[in-house]
Symmetry: C2
Subunit: 473 residues, 2 copies
């Protein structure tokens, strides 16, 4: 599933085709399926997803979230109950209209998200304040037939994700919990070695039906932005539409306060676009399925001693390690693991054994370093993780540009990255900005109030927000 | 999601409603969704599935199987390519005929199983003998709109499963690998504390398109049989239909030999039906999400000392443990954990602390035992697992009855369990047996040749097989 031969495209020349080549040659995804936008996540790509699942799943369980599984299909009559919500997905839904050859009276919608089916059950489950908070998560598949150009992981028509949905007795409790979840996504971003900008989306661009939405907007190397995990404060919008209510301690009926939050397989695409280089993928140790690959350099008569040493080192390493004993040349293996983005490569030959050192090559800097012990190798992983995150932080910092006027915004936007502006808050100004600069308003900083002095760069009226605009995927 | 109040139904009186009550009151599944047969696997039920996943996933990865993810939809034109295969599912498929309001030229089938879409990709991936064996597994959701009466976990219209699909260069390699997988399912059955009968299905009842099929047929307490994991030797049926081929070492084109094998969330229903008692579910320690629940018995003024002790024991236990500190009476908690089937319950009160012992209650035997150390508790878990498996073995042994004639078969079938007969091998005799006894031929023993002497009990012609018949869900 991964192709032979090295990379031919360069990021700086053709980012789009460079990305497609990274995905294909590294064996992350195969798009050659019979249905456009329904791709195969091949084993190497899927194993990153497994690590993301394992890490995030442990974190949410610690916060008292339980996993469950809800139906794939939602009756059309049910999903239409919250109209604003359905309007956001109407154009993208796949409908099952017949079953075993017979027409259905009420067609079934393949879930584009599970609010309606989950809250239908929440209504049955929640009676008293004692049933709250209810904190449930699903790991499942989602279908949204987006008609825009598909891009592996970044924009597909089916994707995998987790969707967490909680119900609380009070607004304060719901928001407090949502902020914890945003903290967990921050932890994930540390594993990704990515500094994302946490933004509160403009009201006119929030998740259909949400009170407010906080996203991890992530810069990639062509200067565009990709949306990462989204955390939504739903307030009582759904609970009122579906009458999800409880009796409080004073015997009063109340509607629950809700949150939902999701992270998808798009994250794999973000990792590749953010960290990759002209040799292929570069995976941060935090989420690399293989953190260290050991390649035995075999010479006639010395095969056994080299293999033994390779296996010995593998055994001692606490990291996720793979000894590549396949019947291929060392050069072939170097190339393949470089394409796949494995953080550290150990090369072991008879000379290394004689000298008593371990030769390690770092995937990101391509430095070749000789160390003494297995502990040194573990330390290199830590250092690489740290360095990659620092690099990401610098990259973000260097790519936020202030613009005091529309003219400045146009030239700043041409450089890529975020453009920081004063904004009145209106959807019209966002629209006109988009028209003239190609970039849209992504939101205002979350958790850090920035004071807007002066006037909106679009309409000149007094600014209400310091906003971040960018071109986005 | 779990109901208050104990069980009201008895296995011996009304097995079917007893089962529904176990499922509902234990919080395993909720069927009150808006679509029949599309149920919610609630957190307690889902956490059993997570343990099954974790255990089996580790086993198959050790055998070199990799996980991946393939599309949910299969174009109707593709799935029809292997006609015999599609015929087996035609009546059960859900079809997506329109997307975003627009009609599709080639409708999409929601996967009832993934052979066709996976092997479509295998054809692209497999070129040379060096690409073989290819061993891929998926954990996903499946839709089969079975029109029979639905039963939680046992017969639903959507279920979760793993489907493993391998391709090999030779018949021998494929079969050898399939036998390893059957060994892994045997390991899983040990965790389930269930003795299943491994049967080769009669040719006329194999998986559509398969060479032969080995299943774990499992007796439940009403004497009926439920099909467990199925392992299919596909031979070259699909590889010839889809031209999945490779160039062998002699530069000759060959079609691959294939296997597929699956285990579903039905397993949770089997566990409940096999082990449950009139107090609710009884989970074997091997797959219990909580193996030991600790219930502090609180008396005024002694709360802290008791809670401290409870937490201390929990910390020392290597088992999956939960300290139930919720604000409920001890009686309420006893009942709830009994319904949920937690193997061991520890009750800790001031007297236990004074006496220096730990009071443990076994869920299966309901014995109350006082032990000295945490290690003793771990040993009780092992013993319970062992005892439950032994009980299951005895149950199976006692429920295999020989029948030398149709008359004997009728009375044996009325007793429940398996009826062992001489059989000529024809589908007609199976049919007539079913008509007269209500039981069908489930297959012949796998991995152990039994010599058939005498004549078929149905038609009198010379017997070819010693077959096992039973009434089945």
């Amino acid at each position: 599933m991964s192709e032979e031969g090295g990379m031919t495209k360069k990021r700086s020349e053709d980012f789009s085709n460079w990305y497609l080549e990274v995905v294909r040659k590294g064996g992350f995804m195969d798009q050659r399926t019979p249905i456009k936008g329904f791709d195969v996540i091949t084993p190497w790509g899927y194993s990153i997803w497994e690590i993301i699942q394992k890490e995030f799943d442990a974190m949410i369980k610690q916060k008292g979230v339980q996993n469950a599984y809800f139906p794939l299909f939602i009756p059309e009559s049910l999903i239409k109950k919250e109209e604003e919500h359905f309007a956001g997905f109407r154009a993208e839904v796949a409908r099952v209209t017949d079953v075993g050859g017979e027409k259905l009276a009420d067609p079934l919608i393949v879930r584009p998200t599970s609010e309606m089916i989950m809250y239908y059950m929440y209504k049955l489950w929640i009676r008293s304040y004692k049933d709250l908070p209810l904190k449930i998560n699903q790991w499942n598949n989602i279908v949204r037939i987006d008609t825009k150009v598909t891009k592996p992981f970044i924009r597909g028509r089916e994707f995998l994700w987790q969707e967490g949905h909680t119900a609380h007795a009070t607004k304060a409790d719901a928001e407090e919990f949502l902020h914890k979840i945003i903290g967990l996504y921050s932890n994930m971003y540390e594993l990704f070695a990515i500094e994302g900008l946490k933004l509160v989306r403009p009201q006119h661009d929030t998740f259909p039906g949400a009170g407010y939405t906080v996203v991890f907007d992530t810069l990639v190397q062509d200067g565009k932005v990709v949306q990462g995990p989204g955390s939504h404060f739903l307030a009582q919008k759904f609970s009122k539409a579906l009458d999800v209510s409880f009796t409080d301690e004073k015997e009063q009926k109340q509607h629950v306060w809700q949150t939902c939050w999701g992270m998808t397989t798009r994250q794999i695409g973000i990792l590749l676009m953010h960290h990759g280089d002209d040799k292929g993928a570069v995976l941060p140790p935090g989420v690399a399925p293989v953190q260290v690959v050991i390649i035995p350099i075999l010479f006639k008569g010395k095969e056994e001693i080299v293999l033994e040493k390779a296996r010995e080192i593998a055994k001692k390493l606490k990291a996720r390690v793979y000894v590549d004993e396949r019947n291929h040349t060392a050069g072939f293996k170097f190339n393949e693991w470089e394409l796949k983005g494995v953080p550290l490569r150990i090369e072991i030959g008879p000379k290394d054994i004689e000298a008593g050192h371990i030769t390690v090559v770092r995937r990101d800097t391509r430095e070749k370093i000789q160390v003494k012990t297995v502990t040194d190798v573990e330390k290199m992983l830590e250092k690489m993780q740290h360095d990659m995150l620092e690099k990401s932080r610098t990259f973000l910092k260097e790519n936020i540009r202030d613009a005091k006027s529309k003219q400045e915004a146009i030239s700043a936007m041409a450089k890529g990255g975020f453009v920081r502006i004063n904004w009145c808050g209106s959807a019209e100004c966002d629209k006109s900005l988009k028209k003239e600069t190609g970039g849209e308003i992504r939101g205002t900083l979350w958790g850090k109030k920035e004071h807007a002095a002066g006037s909106c760069i679009c309409c000149g009226s007094p600014a209400k927000h310091v906003a971040y605009a960018a071109r986005a995927y």
